[in-house]
C-alpha cells in the first residue's frame, strides 16, 4: 500500500518506520526543518528508506508532490488538531483518498473528527488511555473500547460481576437485541469463540459489538 503520513514527530516517525518495514511505500511530510534533519535518513525496520518531504501538508500542492492522488491511506498525525482536520479534509475532498486516519490530540476536539471533515478513522490517545484504565479498574460496568464508522458501531467490554443477570445463561438465551452481537469471550486467560450455547460465567470478559441504539439494552442484560 502507498501511505502518506503528515507530521514527523515521534508518532509519525514511528509509524513510518513500522509501515515501511512491513513493506508499504511510505512518504512522510513535515514543515519543520528541525525534524527534517532527523527524518531525512529515516529507514524502515527492514532498512528500506522512508521518503521525506519538507513542506506544509495543509497545502494541496505539497500533498500533490507527496503523491496523495495515488495514496491508499493518509494519516494526519501532527500535534495540532486544526492541521490534522485540514489535511484530512483536503485528502478526502481533493484526492478522494479511500482511507483517512486522523489523530486527536485534545479530546475536546474529537467530535469534529468525522466524515464531515473527511476522517474515516479517528484515534484519540486520551480516549484510549481512559478506556484502558476503566477496563483495568472496573468489573461489572460497560466500557466502550472502540468506535467504528464514525460512532455508528461500537466495540464494548463488560466483565461479568456476581450480580450480572446473564450468569449461568446461554448467549442465545439472554435476549440480546438484533443490533448487537457477542464477538469474543475472555475466560481464564483464554479467548473463547462465542456460540449460541456458550454459558456465561462470573468473571468472563465479554466483548460486544453494538450498533444503533442497542447499547442501553445490552448494558441492562449484561450488567443489570
Amino acid at each position: 500500500m502507498k501511505v502518506v503520513i503528515a507530521g514527523a514527530g515521534s508518532v509519525g516517525r514511528y509509524m513510518a518506520q513500522q509501515l515501511c518495514g512491513a513493506g508499504h511505500t511510505v512518504t512522510l511530510i513535515d514543515n519543520d526543518p528541525g525534524v527534517a534533519s532527523r527524518s531525512q535518513s529515516l529507514k524502515g525496520t527492514d532498512g528500506t528508506p522512508v521518503t521525506f518531504l519538507l513542506g506544509d501538508a495543509c497545502e494541496v500542492d505539497v500533498l500533490t508532490i507527496a503523491g496523495v492522488a495515488e495514496a491508499d491511506v493518509v494519516a494526519a498525525v501532527t500535534g495540532d488538531d486544526e492541521d490534522n482536520l485540514v489535511i484530512s479534509l483536503l485528502s478526502k475532498q481533493e484526492f478522494a483518498v479511500p482511507r483517512v486516519v486522523g489523530r486527536v490530540n485534545n479530546p475536546n476536539n474529537e467530535w469534529m473528527f468525522t466524515e464531515m471533515w473527511g476522517v474515516d478513522v479517528s484515534v484519540s490517545t486520551p480516549h484510549l488511555l481512559t478506556a484502558m484504565v476503566e477496563e483495568a479498574v472496573t468489573i461489572g460496568s460497560f466500557v466502550r473500547l472502540l468506535s467504528l464508522e464514525g460512532g455508528k458501531a461500537r466495540l464494548a467490554e463488560v466483565t461479568l460481576a456476581a450480580e450480572s443477570p446473564a450468569l449461568g445463561k446461554e448467549i442465545a438465551g439472554i435476549g440480546l437485541p438484533r443490533e448487537s452481537t457477542v464477538v469474543a469471550l475472555l475466560r481464564d486467560g483464554h479467548v473463547v469463540v462465542p456460540r449460541g450455547d456458550t454459558v456465561l460465567r462470573q468473571g468472563d470478559e465479554v466483548l460486544v459489538l453494538v450498533t444503533g441504539d442497542s447499547e442501553d439494552d445490552v448494558r441492562r442484560l449484561l450488567v443489570g
Binding site: 492522488a69 475532498q93 484526492f95 478522494a96 479511500p98 466524515e115 464531515m116 473527511g118 464514525g150
Partner: protein
C-alpha cells in the same frame, strides 16, 4: 447642449457555448473530471448528526451523486437545474460520488 441618447445598436446575443463535460457513465473514481447534468434528486440529510446536502446529477449516459457537507441547501441548486460539477470523485460503497466539488449553475 442637450444630450441625446443614441439608440443602442442591437447587439446580437452571444450564445454561451454549451459546456461540454465527460459523459457521467465514463466518470472514474480518483480522476479529476468535469460533468454537466440536471439535478434529478435532492436530499438534505443529517450525516452523523451533521448537515449535508446530497443531490443526484443526470445526463444522457447516467447518474452520479454529489455531496456538500456542512449545509442543507445551496442557493440556485434545485430540481431540474442544469449544473457543471468539477472535482475528483470517490467511491462510496459501489457508487461514484463527488465530495464538496466546484459547481457552476447553468440556465434551468
Amino acid at each position: 447642449m442637450a444630450l441625446r441618447f443614441r439608440r443602442q445598436e442591437t447587439v446580437p446575443e452571444i450564445e454561451a457555448p454549451e459546456p461540454s463535460g465527460t459523459p457521467i457513465a465514463a466518470v472514474r473514481p480518483r480522476e479529476q473530471v468535469t460533468v454537466v447534468g440536471k439535478v434529478t434528486r435532492m436530499r438534505a440529510k443529517p450525516s452523523s448528526g451533521l448537515p449535508a446536502l446530497s443531490i443526484t446529477i443526470t445526463d444522457a449516459s447516467g447518474t452520479v451523486n454529489v455531496v456538500w457537507t456542512g449545509r442543507r441547501s445551496i442557493g440556485g441548486i434545485a430540481l431540474g437545474r442544469k449544473v457543471v460539477i468539477s472535482g475528483v470523485p470517490r467511491l462510496n460503497g459501489d457508487r461514484v460520488e463527488f465530495l464538496n466539488p466546484v459547481y457552476t449553475l447553468l440556465e434551468a
